[in-house]
Structure formats: structure tokens, C-alpha cells
Symmetry: C2
Subunit: 182 residues, 2 copies
Amino acid sequence: MTPTTGPGFAVLLTGFSGAGKSTVAEELLRRWTPQRAVTVLDGDIVRTMLSHGLSFSREDRDLNIRRIGWVAAEVVRHGGAVIIAAIAPYDGAREQARDMVEEYGVFGLVHLSTPLEVCEARDVKGLYARARTGEIASFTGVSDPYELPSRPDVVIDTSQLAVEESADAIAVYLRLRGVTLA
Amino acid sequence: MTPTTGPGFAVLLTGFSGAGKSTVAEELLRRWTPQRAVTVLDGDIVRTMLSHGLSFSREDRDLNIRRIGWVAAEVVRHGGAVIIAAIAPYDGAREQARDMVEEYGVFGLVHLSTPLEVCEARDVKGLYARARTGEIASFTGVSDPYELPSRPDVVIDTSQLAVEESADAIAVYLRLRGVTLA
């Protein structure tokens, strides 16, 4: 592992299913991995390792994000880098994650603001179709709310911005906050 | 934060309620904190932040330890130090935690082998009394099993060894594994 330089940090990529969270996360991971260890907390690993058994109720969604925020904070405490990719539809839980991480390092809330129509037209996993028929309940944007971030640090519409430019925008924010990345 | 030297590491203190896990954990924390950031995963914080809603069934106990092991591994990946204090009664889950942590650094399984009679006589929290009357069910050592560790790295009976000597024994093991501590 390369010794870390500068503070630990976590970026939380929030937005609708299909907004580009995983794609941007992969680009960040590709850029950062040669420089430092990176912890990725995305939906799949989190639902497997951290939040198995939680539902998609507001209470459980908030618990999920608080839990992710707590783990991210512990990694950041040791100077680590964390990428979180989660729908994270509620502003209160996102800000709780920020508070936990900022106790030890830098936090960036990245709103993937890609319009719902674009996300639904992409429908990479066929989830929107199943949400529209009601086969999937409590689906964010269709049958469950998404609160706009009150304090986004970076806003990216991936229908307008390429993935490289999206990652650049995040790097610029982090640099302003004192995070050194090549 | 002081820059870390050497690999990240996690010690898992396992044993009965009252065996001395928290006391030893506090002594380790007291020694290490001036030198490096330390993540403590003890029963209370884990049940609050990570495992709220889990029961004391074998399945949920194992899930709890795997979850702790996964978080510890992510911290160790970044060169961090972790102290885990948990009853962790099943050998399989403890070894799964070892496997996850050893992917990135050093793991030490510390068996607090203080005899059950001593732990029960201490009964600091009055839990044994409540377990004996049946008010608390599935209580390790009384109404739930404790599997002896098949691969302990350090064995400490706190009815025989003072807390300073206990912490010394753990430090010696860690030094042998390449962990530098003052």
C-alpha cells in the first residue's frame, strides 16, 4: 500500500437507479487505486455484508445510510479513501453521514442529477419496467420519494457530462478541500 | 493522526461475558491511542451501529461477527488498528473474520480463557443471575454454547494475569507478526 498523503476522505454518490453512480464510482476507483487503498461501499456489498435483512422502508433506508456513514468514518479516521454509491434518497441520513465522516476527514456529497426520464429510458437492469408494473414496490422515483440534496458539493448530470469529466469535477472539489490526488 | 508504521492489524478478544474483554480492550486503547488511530468495535457500538435488529441465534451471532470482520478488514486495508471485543462464541465465524483481515494485514485471535465460574462470580452487570433464572435466554456459557478457539494466537486467563501483563502478551504477539508499537 502506498502511504497516504493528506486527510482521509469519502465521496457519497447519490441519485436515482441508472443515474450513473456505479459508472462514476468505477472511474474514480480506476484513477485512485494506483495511488492509494480505496474502500468501495456500493449497494451490492452493503446489502450483502452490512445491511442484510433491511427493507426499503424509510426507516431502514436511513439506517442503511447511517451504517455506511459510520463505516466510512472509521476508514477515513485512518486516512483512508472511500467511495459510496447508494441511492440514499433522504437528505437527513446523507447529512448524518457527512457529520460522521467530517469528524475525521473530508466528505463530498455528489448528486448524480441525471433526469428520471433518462434513467428510466436507460433502465440497464430492467428495474424501472418492473417498478411501473408494481412488481417492485417502494422504487425511488417511481413509487418512493427522492429528496434533492440541500447541500450538494458536486452536481453531475451524466446525460450532459462524460464519465471522465464527471470524475474530474469530483477531483477538483477534493483538491479544494485539501485532498491530494495525482 | 500520526502516520502509521508497519501493517494494519486487528485483534479479536473473544470469551465469556465477564472474562475481561473490555478491560483488556481499554488497556490496549490507552497504550495505542498516543501512537496511532484506533477503531474499537465492541459489543455496544456494534449492536447500535452495525447489527441493530440481530438476535442471539447462532445464525445472527455469526452474521454479527462476519460483519465486524468485514469492517475490521476495510480499516486494516488502510493500515489502521482495530480492537474487537465480542463474545464471538463460534469458531467458524472467528476464522472467517481472520481470513477477511489477513487479506490486508495482521490478525490476532486473543482468547480470554477466564473460567466460567470466575466470570459468573464477578457478574459485573448482573447478567449471569438473570441468565440462571431464565430471564435472559441464549446466554453464552449458561444456556448457549461457547466453542473453544481452534487457533488462538494468545490465551489469557485474567484470573491469573493482570491487565498490564495481558496487554504485554498481545503486544509480544503483534511484534512477532511485524506490528511496530512503542
